[in-house]
Structure formats: C-alpha cells, structure tokens
C-alpha cells in the first residue's frame, strides 16, 4: 500500500456513486438530462461554438459543459460546489473531452479573465443567487465585445433537485453566510432590464415548458415558469 497520496477510498467511492447517478438519465437527475438537448440546441442555433472560447458558469456535474466541448468549443466550467466539480472531473475521464474545471465565483473569475470569452452560458443558476445583477455584470466583463450570453431561469425546477441532493454544501458556498432560500422567480422583464444596464442587447426570449403527461420538455411561448434568454454584449 502506498502512502504517497493522501486519499480516502470511501470518499472516492462516494464521488464515483454521485458521478454515476448524475450522468444516469434515469436517476434523480433525469430532469436535467431531459432539458440538456433542448438548451444545447438553442445555444448551437444562435452562436458559433466550434473553435470558440466558451465559459459555463455554474457548470455542476458538467452535462452542458461536455455538450459544449463536443461541439468543438474550448470550454471552461466554473462552479462553487466541490462535489459537482468532482463529478464533472470524474466523468471527464470517461468522455476524454478537453475541459478546464475550476472552483470560482463568476465575479472573481471575471476579475482575472476580462474580455476573454466568445460565449458565456449561465443556466438555471440566477434564481439561486442573492444578487443576479452582479452575475450579469461579471458576464459582461468576461465577454469579448459582440460575444453571446445565454441565460435561463427555471422556477420548477431541475436544479432544485441538485440542491436537495448535493445539499447544504453547495448552498453554503454559493450564498453568503446567514442567507438561505434564494430560489426566487426572476421575471423576464427584470432580467432584460438588468441586461440593458450592463450593455447587453436582448436577442431572443423563449419559454421552456414541461409536459407532465408526456414527460418531455419543449420550447414554447410560455415564459411564465421557465425560460431561456440570448443576449449579445454590445459595449459601444
């Protein structure tokens, strides 16, 4: 037995179980798998990905991040959750995709990498942070002029499963101490107004609805519950 690496095999096993479930489309992560092709298709239709620098903010276990990398983008995924990042890195070994995963907030990362990215995605995250406007501001800093930003907010809600599963650790890192339960629906008009403040042009808004009978998600005109948004950074 080697003592060169200070690792606990039980802890590793826990991460592997989580990684296996996160990437199992029939597990409790099913809703996330259900929406992933839909949101990926939306992004690929509206922005060039091949050869571009893409940042996935709130990448979680890497479902969207890997899809972006498969579309031949050069992708970085950031998240504040240790466990989801471990899951993402473990799965990366299987998929053999080139992705850089880092633990960072959007704001800190923007300070270090201003004007770096062609595309920034921030999906199903804004409703979980106390100050969504600060994230939008960071997205502006991160993008090159003319770069594309994709946002979504989901009210009822694949990601709330992740919070239930991944748990308090995720919350504690995402939110300042003493704050909790930031799950709040952000109206499209509020988000559009925040985007304008930070020099974005709104390109498109589309609803995403879940059909409880067919159990499929579809893009729709109904933005009352879940929606996707595309904006372009136009600082001049």
């Amino acid at each position: 037995m080697t003592t060169a690496e200070n690792v606990d095999p039980i802890e590793i096993q826990k991460f592997e179980d989580m990684a296996r479930r996160w990437w199992d489309p029939d597990s409790e992560f099913k809703p996330l798998h259900a929406i992933n092709p839909l949101r990926m298709h939306y992004i690929a239709e509206r922005a060039t990905l091949a050869g571009k620098r893409v940042l996935d903010i709130g990448c979680g276990g890497g479902l969207l991040t890997e899809a972006l990398a498969t579309a031949e983008a050069s992708v970085t995924g950031i998240d504040m959750g240790t466990l989801p990042l471990q899951v993402a890195k473990l799965h990366q070994h299987e998929s053999n995709l080139e992705i850089e995963y880092l633990q960072s907030t959007a704001e800190d990362y923007a300070e270090q990498h201003p004007g770096t990215f062609d595309v920034v995605t921030c999906l199903e995250m804004l409703e979980h942070v106390p100050d969504p406007d600060s994230i939008i501001n960071a997205c502006g800093k991160l993008l090159k002029p003319g770069g594309d930003l994709f946002l979504s907010t989901i009210n009822r809600n694949p990601k709330s499963y992740l919070f239930a599963i991944v748990g308090a650790e995720y919350f504690l890192r995402l939110l300042p101490r003493g704050t909790h339960d930031y799950q709040k629906f952000i109206r499209p008009s509020e988000l559009a107004s925040s985007l304008r403040t930070h020099q974005f042009d709104l390109q498109n808004l589309v609803g995403m609805t879940y059909n409880p009978i067919t159990q499929h998600y579809a893009l729709s005109g109904d933005t009352q519950v879940n929606y996707l948004m595309h904006a372009r950074y136009e600082p001049f």
Binding site: K30, Y210, I213, Q215
Partner: protein, 392 residues
C-alpha cells in the same frame, strides 16, 4: 395519426370540467361525446310559462369554488341558479323533522353545461382543445407511453392519457375491463317542474314518503321547485293526469309549501348505485359517474364528480414538481385519494335510502325518533352539513 396529451370520453359536466382543468395547465386534448354538439342539444323548453328544465343538480360551495377557478363567472351562479340556504328533511307522516343549514345552489344542468362551454371558448383554451360530437369510443389499447383510441368514425388517435367521463354506463370502463359493483333499487326517479302555493324561501326540502323520497329543489322563481320523486310507483305517477299527480304530491308538500298547484312535463329515469372496483389502469382513468353513481337523494353525485377532477388535476400538476414520478403513479394516487371518499358517500346514501325505505311502522318510529334526536344534536348536524357542503 393525431396525438394528444389527453383525450376525454364524454362531454358532460364532469368531462368538460376535466377538459378545462387540464387545458388550463397548458395541455392539449380532445373531448368527444356520442351526443349532439351543444348548440344543437336541447336546453330548456317552456314549462309553466317559464324557461325551466327539471334536470337540475345541487352544487356545493367546494364545486362553486372549483368552477370559478375554471373560468365560470362568480355572478353566474346567482343569475342562473337558486341559492340554497338550508335543507329540511321530514318523515312522510310528519312525525320527525330535521333542518340543516346548507349553502350552495340548485342549478339546471343545461345552464351549467353552457357556462362550461363558454369557458372553453376563451381563445387560449379553444386553441388547445379539439371537440368532436356524435362520436363514441370503439376500442382502446395502451402501453407504457400511449393510449390508442379507436373512435366510431374509424379514426384511431393517440394520447398520453385517457379520461373516461362517459357516465354510469361507461363504455371506457368496459373497454378497460374494470368491473363495477351495482346496487339496484326498485325505485325510478320521476322529475318535473312544479309550482306550490307557498314560496320555497331558498330551502331544499325532502319528504320520506311511503313510495320513496320526494324532494322539492328550489328554482329562482319563489314558488317554483323541481320535484324529484324516487318512487316505487313512478310508472303510475308518470301516466296519471297532471291533476291526479299534483294531488298525490300535495299530500306531502302541504305542510311547508302548500299544495302543488301546477306541474310541468314529467320525465323518469332509473335509479341505481354503482362503484368501479378501481379508477385507474395504466394511462387511463375514470371520473364522475363512470367511476361511481349514487342515489340522488343526497344531491351529491355531481359534487363528487367535480371533486374527482380537482384531485386528478392536482395529481397531474404535482408531476411538474416531482418529475421522476410516472403518470400511472399519479393516477393511482388519484384513485387512492378519491375512492374511499366516494365509497363512504355511496354507502351513506345507500344506508339513508334503506333506512327511509321500508314501510315497517316500527322502523318509521325509530326513524322519526332518530330525527327528533338528531335535530337536537348540534355537532352531529354540523358534521352532516359539512359533508353535504363537500368538506368530507
């Protein structure tokens, strides 16, 4: 091949309410009925110089709330129906009487049907719902994902969910192979619009006569009621002269309402109670009379049907929150929620009917004593009123 989220067999009151509840959730569906389209369907005819039909239902406050949520205007109930403030039940020989506070409406079925069709006319709903009339169901097949439904037109359609709202003789229930338990009665219900010498004052009244329960359900006109006589003598009562029939009914109406001074055309329908042994199978489900039909003496049949739809619609809505759960699990939860409640009401109504049925003098004594006793039991009376109001 056409594909829908849901298909509803039966465009009666319960079926239409289900169509509204589900389209309001953003689902797309088809509702069909073997009857005529509503514009061609017969509504009220002139009865005793009034535009009134004897086909009425009692609507409790829970149903009013549900219908309002579906888009029926709150003012509709007071405009179209008669608000009921209480109910009085008495023994035919006048030996016992029970008065209960009550709330709700007596409303003609065709007016409620029109109100629901109007609610379906809202553009967003009309877009999401296809309606077909003079069409029945011939066959159905279901697997894990789909119900395939063959219609009398020869067309086969596919749906994620099939709702059988096609009444007590439900063809959907038969095709699903769901058995039902039936209680047959030796009574037939006779209904007609009637005018009484004294005003009804918004009280629903029921007398337990030797022939069976006789109800006077108030209409908006102060001296007009719908008379419902669940009777062993309905055939004779149907074929005698109006004068003779009015005299028979007057024996029982006399004390609270005075004599029956005029009656409209009489109609009869058979009475039976039945209960399906299950409500859900795969991606198909039964609601309203297709699942359970009860004796009308408690005025609860339609209320139970609406409560079914509330529960079913909630079970489907809950799938949005827990997306791991399957539809068939949701349908089984609906069944688990509704079947015991409906069964209790069916059994209670059957018991009431049987207690008041036999002409034995001893039982009559027990019953009138019981009613006098009940009249003094405030808490028990409250419980009965709550049950009648849909708070079971």
């Amino acid at each position: 091949m056409a594909r829908y989220d849901f298909v509803i067999a039966g465009a009666g009151l319960v079926g239409l309410s289900a169509a509204l509840a589900l389209t309001r959730q953003g689902l797309k569906g088809l509702i069909f009925d073997h009857g005529l389209a509503p514009s061609a369907a017969s509504g009220a005819t002139q009865v005793l110089g009034l535009d009134r039909s004897p086909r009425v239902s009692a609507i409790n406050p829970a149903s009013v709330k549900f219908l309002t949520q579906l888009g029926v205007a709150p003012a509709f109930f007071d405009q179209a129906g008669c608000s009921v403030s209480g109910m009085t039940v008495w023994d035919g020989d006048g030996s016992g009487e029970l008065s209960l506070p009550s709330a709700g409406y007596i409303i003609e079925n065709h007016r409620l049907l029109n109100a629901l069709f109007n609610a379906l006319g809202q553009p967003s709903i009309a877009e999401a719902l296809t309606q077909q009339f003079e069409v029945g169901i011939v066959d159905l097949q279901q697997d894990d994902e789909t119900v395939s439904i063959t219609l009398t037109t020869g067309e086969t359609i596919q749906s994620g969910l099939l709702i059988g709202a096609d009444g007590s003789a439900s063809r959907t229930r038969d095709l699903l192979g769901i058995q039902s338990v039936a209680w047959r009665y030796d009574q037939t219900a006779l209904v007609c619009v009637s005018e009484t010498a004294l005003p009804h004052q918004g009280i629903a009244r029921q007398s337990f006569t030797p022939e069976g329960p006789l109800a006077f359900l108030p209409l908006p006109e102060p001296n007009h009621s719908v008379l419902v006589w669940s009777s062993t003598q309905a055939q004779a009562q149907l074929h005698c002269s109006e004068k003779e029939f009015a005299a028979m009914a007057s024996v029982h109406s006399a004390r609270p309402l005075g004599p029956v001074t005029a009656i409209g055309a009489r109609a009869v329908f058979p009475l039976q109670q039945q209960h399906a042994i299950r409500y859900a199978k795969g991606r198909s489900v039964l609601v309203g009379d297709a699942a359970h039909s009860i004796h009308p003496l408690a005025g609860q049949g339609l209320n139970l049907g609406f409560a079914d739809v509330v529960s079913l619609s909630q079970a489907i809505e809950n799938l949005r929150l827990d997306q791991r759960q399957s539809l068939s699990e949701a349908l089984r939860r609906y069944e688990a929620q509704r079947r015991p409640v409906n069964l209790r009401m069916t059994a209670a109504t059957d018991l009431l009917k049987r207690v008041f049925d036999p002409p034995s003098p001893l039982l009559r004594l027990a019953r009138s004593t019981g009613m006098r006793w009940l009249q003094n039991q405030t808490r028990l009376k409250q419980a009965l009123s709550l049950a009648a109001a849909g708070h079971l």
